[in-house]
């Protein structure tokens, strides 16, 4: 038998340790960014025009120092991820249920999802350049979790006591983690893309000191963003459908335009618009990116805005 109060304290201890470890990871990533250099002028200007040569991979931008900082940052981020995971598991043991029943727990689990999505992508894509933003996002969520949202372990109100809660919320949070990664990639894409366009029109590569110059090529960033959104979108779709099934089982209608449902719908439609814009000649890239960011904004508003400001059937989430 596990002692619930002991587990709860352990969970809180893990959360605070995760904050400490992620803070160090933030410093390491910042040091990595600062020590990364831009490859020397790789764009060749020909009399006929500009042939922009993309740096073939991020590796060229690494210096031995930045690589070392990057490795430290990744290890710390991994440690922080493990700590948030441990915090979630112990919280679940303390509560005797899936640990996503109130805002504090949503915030905690979402840090696991964001960190997990980042580390997963890191094994196959050059996303370490995002590390600093991902870690900052996770720290922000953890900070809010312990200061604003914290609530002791408790049982669920009867409406929430359903296995559909486990399925629906888990899917929503997992897709949210991947959407977060997609949003960071999209925002960085916009930064980098602007710099590349400037360089193209002025005929000279971006100034070496610029942040944009240390980022991966815009095509790589667009690819990561698109991959993340394509991965997350079906999971989000599933989350919405599972929510509808649960609502049918709980309130007798599968869709009732409750504010939470409405914002889930808005999020879904914005991301669908993004995917279409990505297949539309002339809209691909920069213009499509704004749709993805709008989708993410709607997602965040659903989590914070609707839970905190708008009353509806879902507003039992308990701050």
């Amino acid at each position: 038998m596990t002692d619930p109060t002991m587990m709860e304290s352990l969970s809180n201890l893990f959360v605070y340790s995760a904050i400490a470890v992620y803070s160090l990871a933030l410093l390491a990533h910042a040091a990595e960014t600062a020590t990364r250099t831009t490859p020397r002028a790789r764009a060749t200007v020909t009399p006929a025009g500009v042939t922009a040569q993309e740096p073939p991979s991020t590796a060229t931008m690494q210096t031995p120092r930045s690589a070392r900082w990057g490795a430290v940052g990744t290890s710390l981020a991994l440690a922080g991820f493990v700590l948030t995971l441990a915090a979630t598991v112990t919280r679940g043991l303390a509560a005797g249920r899936a640990p996503w029943g109130n805002m504090y727990e949503f915030a905690l689990v979402s840090t696991v999802a964001v960190g997990g999505a980042y580390l997963f992508f890191l094994t196959r894509e050059p996303v370490r350049a995002f590390g600093v933003w991902i870690v900052a996002l996770v720290l922000l969520a953890l900070g809010m979790a312990v200061t604003v949202f914290y609530t002791p372990v408790d049982e669920l109100v009867p409406v929430l006591d359903s296995y559909w809660l486990v399925i629906h919320v888990a899917a929503a949070i997992v897709s949210g983690g991947i959407f977060s990664l997609g949003a960071v990639a999209t925002a960085l894409f916009l930064v980098r893309d602007r710099a590349e366009r400037r360089a193209l029109s002025s005929g000279a590569p971006a100034p070496r000191g610029r942040y944009a110059a240390t980022l991966p090529a815009s095509t790589t960033l667009a690819q990561v963003a698109h991959a993340a959104h394509m991965f997350a979108f079906p999971i989000w779709t599933f989350a919405v459908l599972a929510g509808a099934v649960w609502a049918e089982n709980s309130w007798g209608r599968y869709w009732g335009w409750d504010p939470k449902e409405t914002w889930a719908f808005i999020t879904w439609v914005m991301y669908a618009a993004y995917l279409h814009a990505e297949s539309t000649a002339g809209w691909r890239g920069r213009r499509a990116a704004w749709f993805a960011l709008a989708g993410y904004a709607a997602f965040l508003f659903n989590f914070f805005g609707v839970n905190l400001w708008i009353s509806g059937l879902h507003s039992y989430a308990g701050v």
Partner: protein, 542 residues
Amino acid sequence: MSTQITESVGASTETNGSPTHGWGWLRWGWRSLTSMRTAVILLTFLAVAAIPGSLLPQRNVASDPAAVTKFARDNPDLYPWLDRLGMFEVYASPWFAAVYLLLLVSMTGCVLPRCARLWRSVRSAPVAAPTNLARMECHSRWSDTVPGGGSSTEESPVDVAQRVLRRRGFRVEARGNEVRAEKGYVRELGNLVFHLSLLVLLVGVAAGRLFGFEGRIALAEGSTFTNVRSEYDAFTPSVWTDTENLEPFSITLEDFEAKFETSGAKIGEPRYFNAALSYRTGTNPEVRRQEVRPNHPLDINETKAFLTGHGYAPVVTVRDARGDVAFSGPVIFLPNDSSYASDGVIKAPDAVPQQLGFEGFFLPTADIGEQGPYSAFPDAFNPQLFLTAFTGDLGMDAGSPQSVFTLDKSGMEQAMQRDGQPFSRALRVGETMSLPGGAGSLTFDKVARFANFQIAYDPGKEISLAAGLMLLVGLTTSLAIRRRRVWVRVTQDSGSRCTVEVAGQSLTRWPLDARDTDAVVAALRPGPLPRPADSTHEGHRR
């Protein structure tokens, strides 16, 4: 990066000349409507159009039926304008319907031609190789000796390539010295299934909106509800609901149990509700039992009863001036805070010589605070009933229906104490109050509870569920599967030498994954597989 070809319907329909005559305009209009760009714009409209409904109170949205009236009271200037724009029924308003119907038309017009093209391409052979394979993706070229020096024991490169590609699930066709292969048609099928599922969803939603109904009842312990329209407290039929032939059944609330958190930070939060029901269906005399809890509805032949709330129903006995029982039973009091302080009225129209009415509130755990009595806890630990009394004519014979929760005092006179103050009493269970002047008495017999049920019938929900599954499967397929082509060409050079070329093409947004071409090259090319400088390996990730 090498060639990147995206097959997009939009791209092909957006390049159209300027319209010249009537038909031209129509064609231009239809093409614009069914273009991908229009889809993006309409989707954005749909998202934006959905926003006001989440910020303003809505009629027919379950959370708080009185919210719109309250908004009208608080914003008397703004309300009529917003109401004219349909802002309180956004999801039933014509402009919202216009956006999604236009979107569905646009989608159908876009996707059906794609259907036709898919059908043709599935039935025809894979596309011939372009003349210049070097401009395709993942291109490799090497020269080789013609296998076996012409002996028939060894497979030709064309045969090997066919075998490898077939094993990898490609549709393959060899024409002379060229192998053409294509894979991933299912992606298109997924895309179609996904988009068409939205039409199926519309059918499902419409079936519910046209034939279903929703109703609410409040049932005190011991009372029975029969499923006919007149017994509902609120009933929202659809256009073609057969209100005369609702599913025949009756349910009795035998017992209602509620538990609340008694300690800690969440004290008073609900923990457990259970409504023990007995019910009969149709003409079947057999009585069955079921416990209904949140997330565990009662399902009688597709008509479902959901537990949505509860409250208290004090059981009282009213006697008139002669001492005869004029009313006896539970009376539903409506809770108005989370500790279940509840308001209600009691009417005794059978009292003689004058009818009796009572108005007041019920506190499950009564306590006295600075503002007077209040309820300290939602459970019934110290139940008290606070009532004032009225005598006269309840106005119930006037013909117009009357709410059971309000007292029409126009024909009634408030009972007064001798000191001129209104007569009022706080009763505990078992206590009786006698009205001044011997007009009658009221006894608080015991505390009962009532439960609210939402009763719903939606004949479209199975269709909608099927649409949801189609949507999910189609979407996942269309996003996960990548349609692609691979070509192998063997050109005879002089004598016993030949040149082998392998290349591919991605038909999706992203560059070709090199695995297919690599497998072909590995099978054809003698020796280890170097990365030739002329091959473009870009899409190696993902």
